[in-house]
């Protein structure tokens, strides 16, 4: 497990996250992940630290309202958010990680268009490894 850093486009939102150098990522086909280009590294919140920009984050919700879609109010980039599958965790956008620490991205498709079928209990039972 190593420390990766990342952020939005304009640099106002910055974070660090502990994750392997070979990143396990989820490529979801749901309406919001498609439109916002989110490729998710989902981690427990203890492994994520927001370094700056908290006051600049806008929150968007829809459907059940469980997921908190956070994006920089200046540049619009959604560098991380609170996912419906892991409401006590964080989904970091792999595309927003700084260059230099990521060895590879192991992207796995997730059928978020049929979200309830993937998570019949209403949430995920574990974190991806």
């Amino acid at each position: 497990m190593i420390k990766h850093t990342g952020g939005c486009h304009c640099g106002r939102v910055r974070f660090e996250v502990l994750a392997p150098e070979d990143i396990p990522a989820s490529e979801c086909n749901c309406s919001i992940c498609t439109k916002s280009g989110h490729v998710g590294l989902i981690v427990p919140k203890e492994r994520f630290t927001l370094l700056q920009g908290e006051g600049l984050l806008s929150t968007y919700t829809f459907n059940t309202g469980v997921a908190k879609h956070l994006f920089c109010s200046h540049c619009g980039i959604k560098s991380f958010y609170i996912p419906r599958s892991h409401p006590d965790g964080v989904s970091v956008n792999v595309s927003c990680l700084d260059a230099g620490t990521v060895k590879s991205v192991r992207a796995k498709p997730f059928n978020g268009q049929e979200w309830e079928k993937q998570h019949p209990s209403g949430r995920a039972e574990s974190y991806p490894e």
Partner: protein
């Protein structure tokens, strides 16, 4: 335009920014480009345009529209301040407005109808960049601000 024109609807997630893109060649696959600039990498932006196309953009609530610029400052990214999605990019060249549309914001278009490639325009001069946009981007652009009809 001929009768082969295809009408493609698109929008941000919440629907504040909508567009109708008239694609002049309904029989062909739509060539799309995953842009590798610093902004589009983070937003997963994948675009298309047609030099004979038309796009009519409507923004219901103008106060929820951010026009973001960076780098050469010659392109405007239409960001919805409500949901964060960027469905449209425009560029004003010699007084005329040109646009590309983000195919990830299309409604009702299958992935199999798209023909994807990757574009890298790094190192291009501003002059050649604007000339390329003039050749390739959608030249007929209208932007309407205010409630939908």
């Amino acid at each position: 335009m001929s009768e082969t024109v295809r009408r493609i609807q698109g929008k941000c997630h919440c629907g504040n920014i909508r567009f109708t893109f008239l694609w002049p060649d309904s029989g062909a696959k739509i060539p799309v480009r995953a842009c590798s600039c610093t902004f589009c990498i983070k937003h997963g932006g994948v675009y298309t345009s047609h030099p004979k196309g038309q796009v009519d953009i409507q923004v219901e609530n103008e106060s929820l529209l951010t026009r973001y610029r960076f780098g050469t400052g010659t392109a405007e990214f239409f960001i919805c301040s409500s949901c964060g999605v960027v469905p449209i990019v425009t560029s004003t060249i010699d007084g005329d407005e040109y646009a590309v549309v983000n195919v990830n914001s299309f409604e009702g278009v299958k992935r199999s109808e798209l023909d994807q490639s990757i574009s890298d325009f790094d190192g291009e001069t501003t002059e050649s960049r604007l000339a390329r946009r003039k050749r390739n981007w959608i030249p007929n652009v209208s932007v309407k601000l205010g409630p939908y009809n």
